[in-house]
């Protein structure tokens, strides 16, 4: 079994190397044989998918067959591991996850190579770049992190088992989502670099990669929030985001990728920001590789960094090569990226995109700095200085609030310049609405509880929460006004009712209105984040019949019990939850002892409502008294975060749907004698 896997990886490396070299030669040669050579390169890239897929299948089969002769299976699986986690073994450890990276990359490459007729020269360039990236990962797999390495000495009876933290249903889908996002950015990167290398005229490469980028961004968004939900549901500290280095690593390409999705519109519409967009997508790809490096190299201490290894050097070398290649081609062909228009006014859609991008980059730099600071401080001073959540919150909250303001303002500004009258026309009612909501939140009585009764003059967290909710309301009003105004125009023309007209409107320009729905999802998430300012927690030793009060809830300990399962033994508390005199739920916070890895792990239990989450953790027993300890967290508005993610996904899916044909006819422009149009060169 291991021999077939090893062979498949070697063959995949040979095919990818051939695809790269032959593809490159075909692009450089101008004779009649170039086409045939290029076609063999394309086919080698397609075949590489087949053999990498074979290697992945072999590894999964080995996990299901408990083949502990393969060191990777021994370290990441055990006989009693449930079937879904045996499948997830593929991406549970370093070698497997690199194989998974390679599999996804070859799958993306397969789709790209099958669709080569769209623009065969551009696709041939992109195929060569993807083959080069694939060669790097296959070199790693074959020579530094071999997933089919054989165990030395006598065969063990059972494996070490999967990390208990990873034995959670979401862990079966979270890494694939995140990796689909990370790996997917290779495609727009490959097209962008191809366009630069070829001095490709126009923005068609952006049209071609638009859906790739959105799909990739959607996967990364899902991956980031699945990770947050996993942390919330498994780690037992009551939060969903701790600014952990590996969490940050997933956020970095998301930030630059989001900036790219916005600024690329300026290039498509106005032929502006070409250099900026090129470097944004380069940076996004490099940050994706950097994220994989952080997760897999063990260079940072993190609850998510599931590996300690020496592959870091490989990544540093690879990142350096990418940077040099991008830099060299940029210097050689920068004239090709000349902007076709200049910024005409600071109050315009263009400037709002520009500020939006600057804020995303500030956020990206702050997160990068905070993440790398412990490593940099160790190099400079010899000891690590950890940067915790206070630093990130201090920087990121104001940046997020400004971004929220731009999310509200941007769509209502005109391209080129916006007059005062336009501003008044578009902003008066949304601003008054947002102001009314802010005032309402401030004057409501304390007895209403969070998120009402905000007193921003008392503490900064309350001020931030109020601003977040008020700005979210402003975004919501502007999004709604965009839908209503557009819907009215359609309704006027077709006679349909407003709702049907708004659906038709969204179908006519799915990218724009899907984008607005994504913005709506973002504000729902932001409202969820704002709830964190009002978190409460209590901890108490609870024997049978003991009570604990938190917020409007009374918790009564009914009993404790135990159970033994093949993979783990567990003990849990049975807690009745009362609101007033009425029992509303029974919760079962749990502790599990995983036999194969000999590790203890808590499993919180959550009573979730739109208003708040009651989050209980069974923390174990007091060593002196032997009494069980229960910790309760009351986290307002957390459900909004998960609902917001679903809205974002829905918006992304809508944005991916092709537009319906436009009904509005545009009169032909007047023909004039004019200067030639600027076009890259």
């Amino acid at each position: 079994m291991a021999q077939i896997g090893s062979f498949a990886l070697l063959l995949a490396l040979a095919l990818s190397a051939y695809s790269f070299v032959a593809g490159l030669l075909a692009l450089l040669r101008a004779d009649g044989r170039a086409e045939r050579l290029g076609e063999t390169a394309r086919r080698a890239g397609i075949a590489a998918f087949g053999v990498v897929f074979l290697a992945a299948v072999v590894l999964v089969i080995a996990a299901f067959q408990d083949d502990f002769s393969i060191a990777y299976i021994f370290h990441h699986s055990n006989r009693d591991l449930p079937a879904p986690y045996k499948f997830a073994t593929l991406w549970s450890g370093q070698e497997g996850s690199l194989l998974f990276w390679s599999l996804l990359l070859s799958a993306y490459g397969l789709v790209l190579r099958l669709r080569h007729k769209t623009d065969s020269r551009l696709f041939a360039h992109a195929s060569v770049i993807i083959a080069a990236v694939q060669v790097f990962f296959l070199l790693l797999l074959n020579f530094a992190a071999h997933p089919f390495a054989i165990m030395q000495g006598s065969l063990p009876e059972d494996g070490n088992g999967l990390n208990p933290l990873l034995q959670y249903p979401e862990m079966v889908i979270h890494p694939p989502m995140l990796y689909l996002g990370y790996v997917g950015f290779t495609v727009p990167f490959a097209f962008a670099l191809s366009a630069l290398v070829m001095r490709y005229p126009g923005e068609k490469w952006i049209h071609i990669t638009r859906r790739w980028t959105m799909v990739t961004w959607g996967f990364l968004t899902c991956g980031v929030f699945l990770g947050a939900h996993w942390a919330y549901s498994v780690l037992g500290w009551g939060g969903y985001w701790g600014w952990d280095p590996v969490e940050n690593a997933s956020l970095l390409p998301w930030l630059t990728g989001t900036a790219f999705l916005h600024s690329v519109m300026m290039q498509e519409k106005r032929g502006m920001l070409k250099v900026w967009n090129m470097w944004l997508i380069f940076a996004t790809f490099m940050l994706s590789i950097f994220g994989t490096f952080l997760t897999r190299s063990g260079v940072v201490s993190s609850v998510h960094a599931f590996a300690q290894s020496s592959i870091g050097t490989w990544f540093v070398v690879f990142l350096t090569i990418i940077f040099l290649v991008c830099g060299v081609f940029y210097v050689m062909n920068r004239e090709h990226l000349r902007s076709e228009h200049k910024l005409e006014s600071l109050v315009s859609r263009e400037s709002s995109f520009l500020f939006n991008n600057l804020l995303f980059l500030v956020a990206c730099f702050a997160v990068l700095w905070g993440t790398l600071f412990p490593i940099l401080s160790e190099w400079v001073q010899g000891h690590k200085i950890t940067v915790g959540p206070p630093f990130f919150n201090r920087v990121m909250i104001p940046v997020a609030l400004l971004l929220l303001l731009l999310t509200a303002v941007g769509p209502l500004l005109c391209w080129r310049k916006t007059s005062i009258e336009s501003l008044k026309r578009n902003f008066l009612w949304p601003s008054l609405g947002a102001l009314a909501i802010a005032l309402f939140l401030m004057v409501t009585p304390v007895s209403w509880g969070p998120p009402f009764a905000m007193r921003p003059w008392r503490e900064i967290s309350s001020l931030y929460s109020l601003m977040a909710i008020a700005l979210s309301a402003l975004v919501a009003f502007t999004v709604i006004s965009e839908f209503i105004r557009g819907g009215r125009v359609i309704s006027h023309h077709t006679g349909q009712n407003l709702v049907a007209s708004m659906i038709r409107l969204a179908h006519r320009n799915t990218r724009r209105y899907g984008g607005y729905i994504v913005h709506f999802g973002v504000i729902v998430i932001i409202i969820g984040f704002a709830g964190a300012a009002f978190n409460q927690d209590r901890e108490k030793e609870m024997g049978f019949g003991d009570k604990m009060m938190i917020g409007p809830y009374t918790l009564v300990c009914r009993s404790y019990t135990q159970e033994d399962k093949p993979n783990y033994g567990s003990e849990w508390a049975i807690i009745d939850v009362f609101k007033g005199d009425r029992q509303i739920d029974t919760l079962y916070p749990e502790r599990r002892f995983f036999k194969a890895s000999q590790q203890m792990n808590t499993r919180p239990t959550i009573h979730s409502t739109a208003n708040e989450d009651l989050y209980l953790v069974y923390e174990g027993q007091n060593e002196d008294s032997g009494r069980p300890i229960i910790k309760a967290h009351l986290n307002p508005l957390v459900m909004w975060i998960w609902v917001g993610v679903w809205i974002m996904i829905a918006g992304t899916v809508i944005a991916l749907i092709p537009n319906a044909a436009a009904a509005v006819r545009v009169p032909a422009p007047v023909r004039v004698q004019a200067e030639p149009v600027g076009a890259g060169d």
């Binding site: 021999q3 077939i4 062979f7 498949a8 063959l11 095919l15 051939y18 170039a34 086409e35 045939r36 290029g38 076609e39 063999t40 086919r43 080698a44 075949a47 087949g50 053999v51 074979l54 007729k117 623009d119 065969s120 020269r121 041939a124 001095r199 490709y200 005229p201 126009g202 923005e203 068609k204 498509e268 519409k269 032929g271 005109c414 391209w415 080129r416 916006t418 007059s419 009258e421 336009s422 026309r425 105004r485 557009g486 009215r488 125009v489 436009a662 509005v664 545009v666 422009p669 007047v670 023909r671 004039v672 004698q673 004019a674 200067e675 030639p676 149009v677 076009a679 890259g680 060169d681």
Partner: protein
């Protein structure tokens, strides 16, 4: 058995990669004309958006007229260059067409 399987996989892959029946042809290089047609579509789309937003009441008449005439000038310049290239002899078009 393993050796046989690996040999079969290798043969299948080699056959797929190197057996190329029929004539192959890469698409033509993108010309300036093709680029201009893309730009024309982009400007027309901008005009459609502008018209729609004006009808939706997002900006006053004066702003609309100013933005519309600016976009129309841009479109006209593109159309003029397309017309010039289409009228030009094949040799000139070819020379200008490659690697703009």
């Amino acid at each position: 058995m393993t050796l046989l399987l690996c040999s079969l996989i290798t043969l299948a892959v080699l056959f797929y990669v190197f057996y190329l029946p029929g004539k192959l042809q890469l698409g033509p290089e993108k010309t300036r004309l093709a680029y201009l047609r893309e730009r024309k579509e982009a400007v027309y789309e901008n005009l459609r958006d502008l018209n729609f937003e004006y009808r939706a009441g997002k900006f006053p008449e004066s702003d609309y007229q100013s933005m519309k005439s600016s976009l129309e000038e841009e479109a006209a310049a593109i159309l003029a260059e397309i017309a010039r290239l289409e009228r030009a002899p094949e040799a000139v078009r070819g020379r200008k067409g490659v690697r703009i």
